[in-house]
Amino acid sequence: MANKQAVGNMKGEHSLSFSKTSVPEHFLGFGLGLRTEHFQDVIDNKPAIDWFEVVSENFMVDGGKPKHYLHSIREHYPMVMHGVSLSIGSTDPINFDYLRKLKVLTNELQPEWISDHLCWTGAHEKNSHDLLPLPYNDEALTHVCQRIEQVQEFLGRPILLENVSSYLTYKNSEMTEWQFFNEVARRSGCEILLDINNIYVSARNHDFKPEDYLNGIAKEKVKQFHLAGHSDYGDYVIDTHDHPVADPVWQLYQKALQRFGWISTMIERDDNIPPLAELLAEVDTARAIAKKTLGSIT
């Protein structure tokens, strides 16, 4: 598997070398969500990007062209796998059929890590295909932690969980989302993928300060950042992933860097997909903000 130094060596024009004392061992650099629209461009031009994140479910198929492209790209870039169907908070039984397929793909791709979301996606054998929020209380905490431990044992590795955007609060929530998230990570041993845009979206929808969220998350647990765009409707904000990253989210990213330091960061675009060059420019913006905030990587 490619390591960090090898990534820098592969792309001469974009060498990523750094002192191991200034950045955490798991820092991958600045990455991008890999989308089918960009497969050919990536294979032909091998853009200067440090790593790619792939949506696990898109490749949990038996074969065909997308999987062929995926393996071709994997030969040249480190990857992480990001799932949307684990449904870790569901009260349905854990879907081991899904986990077996996830494990097969993990063995094929040898990702740096795998992640999913702190949420539930379905129950009672129906799937919403959405990232639905949990109530933040002791019952949900105990339930989720037990399931994370089962999943991590099955996969033989810790997983990362991501905070979701949310639009409602349940009456039986007893703590803040960040208190809940921290406690989940502490008890279960999972790590944290912090979506900066989702914090901003939820803060707007629930009237909390996004800085309180950042400051409430344990520093040592955060391993990856997501940056994405949203749609602002004035009274509320929806996490649509179909726009460039908005200015307030860049500002929040800077604050996140100040708190958490060098964290592997990526741009996540899922709809209204622009040419690859536009997304690479956004990745460069993230890189420039990190450099300005934390200094040069030498």
């Binding site: 169907s85 799937n127 929808n205």
Partner: protein, 258 residues
């Protein structure tokens, strides 16, 4: 304030998304500038839009054939009748051909269900398992005396499907943005598979070729295929006909390495 269990809360939320039941509203805080109904509706809208987009992406030409109004009617009916029970959206519309065959007004026009079935066959071929293909070079390496006992396996992407209407021709016309011919009842059989260039391909087959495929699926060897061809009163030499079929299958990439 009620203390609803996580299990019950999730059931109420799913009932809201799939069946419009509003009991979940009692569990949602009213705060800020938007109502709790509006907050819930964000999830409802996302649920419906995501499933509609999935059907739209999977069945682009069916959508063209139906037009916007009938397509929307189909989507609404399907989402209600077949809520997703799969972790992947890839399989959400698997039962769409069945829905269209059983529900009016779609069931009054059986070609519609066949059109949906053909589009799903294309999807199956697109991401079926890979395997090494049987080639002319491999065939040549096999001593001639062993040919009669050869048993062939198909590439995992191969689908064989019968249609009762001019369904595939209709799909082809739509693909070329031309008006399809009126629906015509006619029995026909098609192969759909992923070729060596990893592109999805399809072609019609005769009743004789279908019979050969049927025999191969049942494990019959090459000599049995030739024996069957002898019964068909062909004008050409049977061994040449058999060889032509075999070479065409190899060149199409539909045979797997044995």
């Amino acid at each position: 304030m009620s203390e609803l269990s996580l299990h019950a809360l999730q059931q109420q939320m799913m009932n809201y998304l799939t069946d419009d039941e509003l009991t979940i509203a009692q569990q949602v805080e009213e705060h800020g500038g938007i109502s709790r109904d509006a907050r819930l509706h964000i999830y409802k809208n996302a649920y419906q839009m995501r499933l509609k987009e999935t059907i739209d992406n999977d069945h682009e030409l069916l959508g063209m054939y139906l037009g916007d109004d009938l397509f929307d009617q189909m989507v609404d009916g399907y989402i209600k009748a077949y809520p997703s029970n799969n972790t992947s959206l890839r399989n959400f519309a698997d039962a769409l051909p069945e829905f269209l065959a059983k529900h009016t007004p779609f069931s009054d026009y059986p070609l519609i269900s066949e059109l949906a079935r053909f589009e799903r066959l294309l999807m199956v071929a697109f991401d079926a398992a890979d395997t090494e293909r049987f080639t002319r070079e491999l065939l040549i390496e096999i001593p001639h005396e062993q040919w009669p006992s050869l048993v062939f396996r198909f590439h995992p992407s191969l689908q064989i499907s019968h249609f009762n209407f001019n369904t595939v021709e209709t799909w082809q016309a739509l693909k070329q943005e031309q008006a399809p011919q009126p629906a015509t009842k006619t029995a026909n059989t098609w192969l759909v598979w992923r070729n060596k260039q990893r592109l999805t391909q399809f072609r019609s087959i005769s009743t004789i070729e279908f019979s050969l495929f049927d025999m191969m699926l049942k494990g019959n060897d090459f000599s049995s295929l030739c024996d069957y061809l002898l019964t068909q009163n062909l004008e050409e030499d049977v061994s040449q006909v058999a060889l032509n079929y075999l070479l065409a299958w190899i060149d199409d990439g539909i045979l797997a390495n044995r």
